[in-house]
């Protein structure tokens, strides 16, 4: 066996059903860790947390791509092999099937009575009439029919759509894979947080995070922009799920492209904004308390609504304020915003309801070096207090001012606005994917519901001048209703009910 022989052997192995089955189960097995470990593609923060909690194990798992299972080389290896195996099996079958579709149904074998579904009977009509009647009947039952007039026999077959459906299903599966790939290389996903009264325009720099596909270019971004006019959430106030959200809604003022007339759009769950194929989804919300800070020298150095991140279902929210321009010293605030404030003896300040019934902030003030010039990247949601000093704590209600100890400045809690987080996505492959799955469902229905079978008829003149009709059937798929076909055909030909068994060998024409 030479190299070619080995290649041929390998190809045969790869395209065998056994290999396809094993690859199929490997694929299922390989997907399991993707649901057990946090995934970077789903929740980056959860992965970081896992790695921080389990540094040793985490490193090993990370090396095995357990946090990127669906982008892992071994996962790709399985599905690429599976799809090669699939293509290697399906394409030749498609060719064979295309030929079979054009070919005539096979001619009647000599011994029809040897078939599992075989019956016979005697009628008075001539063999030619019997054959013609059988042809008409089988055509009516949507069989493909080939008449052999010399032999006075018919070969018929139906259920070709079964294999067609089977092939459509598998070919559509290949199309689906390409559609998914196309979506991930030509599309993008981004997230952005927008406060009430603020705007967003669809350019790369405005996103808080964006995952562009490999061949996605920023010029593909639809040039729309919007302003968040209002965000509203309502919550249950009674029943056993007090505080559960009952509705979310954002009112946007959308400009489809520069210079276009703005339109007002309301979006919410299952109701995205659609602009030119790009969809904008409302995915979250929170509160942004507004602070005005006057520094030790009397300058207003900060006046802004700062998004705080919700920590629980009642929107106990945390955030920080960094004031690098404050003089004589930089000021940092660590804060907790509570829409409905209450003081829990064990847990400290906590919110008891997600809507603003009794809003308050709890602040701790720091002075010193915020570390923004150190060159190390910082999160806007975390205060680095290494070079700072805690100077005091205070709780404020809207309108309250707090004079910071040591004359470093004054903090005023002006009130709050709500913010909404939006997910923006464009997947140009999705329509192909949808077409593919529709074809898959159609194909699998055909391939599982249609039953392919063959029926043959032979009419032979007997010595007594009457005609012996022998009908044989062959199910080419499981549970094919061949008996029904044979019975209906005999009825149509007027062959008497229940002939005695066994069928006698027909008198063959010499």
């Amino acid at each position: 066996v030479g190299a070619v022989g080995w290649l041929r052997w390998g190809w045969r192995q790869l395209t065998s059903m056994r290999t396809a089955l094993i690859l199929l189960f490997l694929l299922a097995l390989a997907a399991v860790p993707g649901s057990l470990f946090p995934q970077r593609g789903v929740d980056q923060a959860a992965v970081r947390e896992y790695l921080a909690d389990n540094p040793e194990l985490g490193r090993v798992l990370d090396r095995l791509s357990m946090f990127d299972v669906f982008a892992a080389p071994w996962f790709a290896a399985i599905y690429v092999l599976l799809f090669i195996s699939l293509a290697g099996c399906v394409l030749p079958r498609a060719w064979t099937h295309a030929k079979a579709m054009r070919a005539r149904p096979p001619a009647a074998p000599r011994r029809l009575d040897r078939l599992a579904h075989s019956r016979s009977g005697v009628v008075d009509e001539s063999p030619a009439d019997v054959v013609e009647a059988a042809r008409a009947h089988l055509r009516g039952r949507r069989f493909r029919v080939a008449v052999d007039e010399d032999d006075a026999s018919i070969g018929a077959e139906r259920g070709y759509l079964r294999e067609t459906g089977n092939l459509v299903f598998h070919l559509a599966l290949l199309v689906l894979l390409f559609a998914v790939a196309a979506g991930s290389v030509f599309g993008f996903r981004g997230n952005v947080l927008v406060r009430e009264g603020y705007g967003f325009s669809n350019t790369l720099t405005q996103y808080d995070s964006i995952t562009p596909g490999r061949f996605f270019s920023s010029s593909d971004l639809a040039p729309f922009s919007f302003t968040l006019r209002d965000f509203t959430a309502t919550f249950r106030t009674d029943g056993n799920s007090v505080g559960a959200a009952t509705s979310f809604s954002s009112t946007l003022e959308v400009t489809d492209e520069p210079g276009a007339e703005p339109r007002v759009v309301e979006i919410g769950p299952n109701k995205p904004l659609v602009v030119d194929g790009t969809k904008v989804f409302l995915v979250g919300h929170g509160y942004a308390p507004k602070f005005t800070i006057v520094d030790g020298e009397g300058e207003t150095v900060f006046s802004e609504a700062v998004p705080f991140l919700p920590q629980d279902g009642a929107f106990t929210s945390t955030g920080v304020v960094k004031v690098p321009d404050a003089l004589p010293e930089q000021i940092g605030l660590n804060g907790i915003f509570l829409p409905t404030a209450s003081l829990d003896l064990e847990r400290g300040p906590i919110s008891t309801f997600p809507a603003p019934r009794n809003p308050a902030v709890f602040l701790s003030a720091w002075t010193g070096d915020l570390g923004l010039n150190s060159g190390r990247p910082q999160s806007v949601y975390r205060l680095v207090t290494d070079d700072m000093e805690l100077i005091g704590r205070e709780s404020l209600q809207p309108g309250d001012s707090w004079e910071l100890p040591g004359g470093v400045g004054t903090v005023t809690f002006d009130g709050f606005v709500e913010y909404a987080t939006f997910s923006v996505a464009d997947d140009p492959g999705k329509w192909f994917a949808l077409g593919a799955v529709v074809a898959m469902i159609g194909g699998v229905l055909l391939s599982l519901m249609i039953r392919r079978r063959r029926v043959w008829v032979r009419a032979t003149r007997q010595d007594d001048g009457r005609t012996l009709v022998v009908v044989g059937g062959l199910g080419r798929t499981e549970a094919a209703p061949v008996d029904d076909d044979v019975a209906a055909l005999l009825d149509a030909l007027g062959v008497p009910e229940e002939e005695p068994v066994p069928v006698a060998s027909p008198v063959m024409p010499s």
């Binding site: 559960a244 299952n270 995915v283 799955v437 549970a479």
Partner: protein, 333 residues
């Protein structure tokens, strides 16, 4: 009293009647199986309940011209008072179940499958409905125990464990017409998967009994019980048809979920744990359908694959909802 609490009472009543049906089916199953060896499967056309109490219904012959000839392979049903009672009780329980679920739906003003309590009841109802629909044409009395028992288990779990923990609100993002389409397809699939798994399990037991009988071994307790069910070849065919029916439905459930996800979250597939396990279930059942036509894999191996598929479905429901967190964890327990 509110409609929901009346519905809850009625559902408890249904559970009691299901329990009665289960015991009647179990009694019938034990009573009508006989201390005889299971026939070798090579004689599959012959009635199997060799020793069954004399009243074998006529087996339609291969020559019958009646339509639906594949139904003739159903087992001749031994006449049994217990089985009759069991079937009546199952119909009664099903009726109560249906009324209770409808009342619940009217009470909450939406389709009854938005949380685990409701989904469990709907899936169980679907499983029993399929069974009752096929009971007469396919003569499925022998299967009753294996449909009613899991249905009762599911209903009991819903009433005892899930109901007290169920929120009376659904999340706004669940409130969509896709809830009607996607989740109903999943619930019905769940009912049929259970039905398919019951037949498959019986196939494995019966197949072993037949293999042992062919080897001349003495019949054990399971072998004796297995005289009550049709030949392994028949069970295998029935299991295949059930799975061939449910596979496109499950495909549709997954696809409609993907379409909903695209409209709700901006991506049609994101490997959320629920999506991942739906994919795993799909792949395993696809494997079963292929194994069934592959030399060396048909029979026992294929049956085991179908049971693995059912296990992944169960994990997707209970495991993913209760143990893992993800976008589907709003299911209200």
């Amino acid at each position: 009293m509110s409609l929901e609490s009346t519905s809850f009472q009625l559902m408890n009543a249904a559970a009691v009647v299901y329990a009665g049906a289960m015991f009647a089916f179990a009694y019938d199953f034990a009573k009508t199986s006989r201390f005889v060896q299971v026939a070798d499967d090579d004689t599959a056309e012959a009635p199997v309940a060799v020793g069954a109490s004399g009243a074998a219904a006529p087996v339609a012959t291969r020559r019958s011209r009646s339509r639906g000839s594949d139904r003739t392979e159903a087992l001749p049903e031994p006449r049994s008072k217990a089985a009759g009672i069991a079937v009546s009780l199952t119909f009664l329980a099903f009726g109560l179940h249906l009324v209770a679920l409808t009342m619940h739906a009217v009470g909450v003003g939406r389709v009854p499958w938005a949380n685990m309590y409701e989904f469990s009841l709907s899936a169980a109802l679907a499983g029993v409905a399929i069974y009752l629909a096929l009971l007469r044409p396919y003569r499925l009395r022998w299967l009753g125990l294996f449909v009613v028992a899991p249905a009762l288990l599911t209903v009991g779990l819903a009433l005892v464990v899930l109901y007290p923990r169920t929120s009376d609100t659904i999340a706004p993002n669940v409130d969509s017409y896709w809830l009607v389409i996607h989740v109903s397809a999943a619930a019905i699939s769940g009912g049929i998967f259970t039905f398919g798994a019951a037949v498959t399990l019986l196939y494995l037991l019966r197949e072993r009994a037949e293999t042992r009988a062919a080897a001349g071994e003495l019949a054990g307790r399971t072998s004796i019980l297995m005289t009550r069910v049709p030949p392994a070849a028949t069970l295998d065919r029935l299991a295949f048809r059930v799975h061939a029916f449910v596979f496109p439905l499950w495909t549709f459930a997954v696809v409609s979920g993907a379409i909903w996800a695209e409209n709700a979250w901006g991506r049609y597939w994101g490997w959320d744990p629920k999506e991942t396990w739906a994919f795993i279930t799909w792949v395993v059942y696809a494997g079963y359908l292929h194994a069934r036509v592959t030399a060396g894999w048909k029979g026992r191996r294929a049956a085991v694959i179908a049971l693995v598929g059912f296990a992944t479905f169960l994990f997707n429901y209970f495991g993913v909802n209760l143990l893992l967190s993800g976008l589907h964890s709003y299911s209200g327990v």
